[in-house]
């Protein structure tokens, strides 16, 4: 039970800095779950990220998977709630006043200021997955190819690239 509470507190804290959503939190989740608590190892962390990528739904569900692997069903529930609940409550209370903030100089400054940090976090998340998976030449070639294809054909559904990655993996290329 204490593990469930610990999960809730750790992820609840992370939810307050999740600018850019759960994807931007990948490096910090890895630090908490793999480096600090040793709840999971690098391989499992990478696998859970992959499963979340292949499943439908909001990106935040990678947290559900981590909670499940650490502490079963209650862990999954605790991690998911911890990530969603604090900001949901805050936004419920703030939305009516939002109109009066919007357009203010400090509000624009925060929006402009957060964007480059979120880009850095997502880039860091991508490089962390690459490192944690311990990709060789085949893995990094796949990453480069997916990056190139997703930039060249913006309308392509990402699921095609995920499926191609799965096939390349099964063929032993990665």
């Amino acid at each position: 039970m204490s593990l469930v509470i610990e999960l809730f507190l750790e992820f609840g804290l992370l939810s307050f800095i999740a600018f850019g959503g759960a994807t931007a939190l990948l490096p910090e989740m890895h630090r908490v779950v793999v480096d600090n608590h040793h709840w999971l190892n690098d391989t499992t962390f990478t696998h859970l990220y992959a499963i979340a990528q292949a499943a439908p739904g909001p990106n935040v569900l990678v947290v559900t998977l981590i909670g499940w692997e650490v502490a079963g069903f209650l862990g999954a529930l605790a991690a998911t709630l911890a990530m969603c609940l604090p900001m949901s409550v805050l936004i419920y209370l703030l939305i009516d006043r939002w109109e009066s903030f919007s357009g203010k100089r400090w509000q624009k400054a925060v929006s402009l200021g957060v964007a480059p940090l979120a880009v850095g976090l997502i880039f860091s998340g991508a490089s962390l997955i690459g490192r944690a998976a311990g990709f060789g030449v085949g893995g990094w070639a796949t990453i480069a190819l997916v990056l190139a294809i997703s930039q060249r054909w913006r309308g392509l559904h990402p699921l095609w690239l995920i499926a191609a990655g799965a096939a390349a993996g099964l063929a032993g290329l990665i």
């Binding site: 739904g57 480059p116 993996g169």
Partner: protein, 187 residues
């Protein structure tokens, strides 16, 4: 925005909110925000495009999963606390169950070599998509000489030096937001 102001548009009840957000949650892969927009603005017309953009502002301003924040805002707008809860739960319940089923499959078959190599392949593709997302978001930043240095600093702090994210974000936001505040004042 208060409830009274919006009764000119279609006003969903709790059931409609639950079903609407369930369909959003189950339709997207790697981010469902575009599907939320399509459901709210185009298909069910619960709000106009301008209203959607205005509401999304706060959802993106605050940390946390943007689309969950959006569900709470839309649910509150039409049905108060109950609407907010029903919308958030509707968005997450279906994917939550699917992900847990996949987790159980993983617990049973995850040790098979073929499953491991498949997941490695998916992780590689997902990693490429993440780099692509960072690239696109970076390209969308308007004043690159002023703000991209903060992207580089964030990467250095998080990916290279492995500093704790709360400190990097607080420090980064103070610097980057400070520059933005100063630049806005000069305009």
């Amino acid at each position: 925005m208060s409830v009274q102001q919006v009764d000119t548009r279609n006003r969903p009840d709790l059931r409609a909110l639950f079903l609407g957000f369930s369909s959003v949650g189950l339709s997207g892969f790697g981010g469902v925000l575009p599907f939320a927009r399509r459901m709210l603005v185009d298909e069910r017309q619960w709000m106009t495009a301008e209203e959607f953009n205005a509401q999304l502002g706060l959802c993106q301003f605050l940390p946390g999963p943007n689309v969950v924040n959006l569900a709470v805002v839309v649910g509150k707008r039409y049905q108060g606390v109950a609407g907010a809860i029903v919308s958030g739960v509707g968005l997450l319940a279906g994917p939550f169950v699917i992900v847990l089923l996949l987790a159980m499959l993983y617990d049973h078959f995850g040790s098979l070599a073929s499953v491991q190599s498949m997941l490695r392949g998916i992780a590689a593709a997902g990693c490429g998509l993440l780099f692509g997302m960072a690239w696109r978001m970076g390209a969308a930043i308007k004043d690159k000489p002023a703000f991209l240095p903060f992207t580089v600093l964030t990467i250095a702090g998080i990916a290279w030096l492995r500093w704790p994210m709360p400190f990097v974000m607080l420090g980064g936001l103070a610097l980057s937001g400070g520059v933005a505040y100063w630049k806005l004042g000069r305009q």
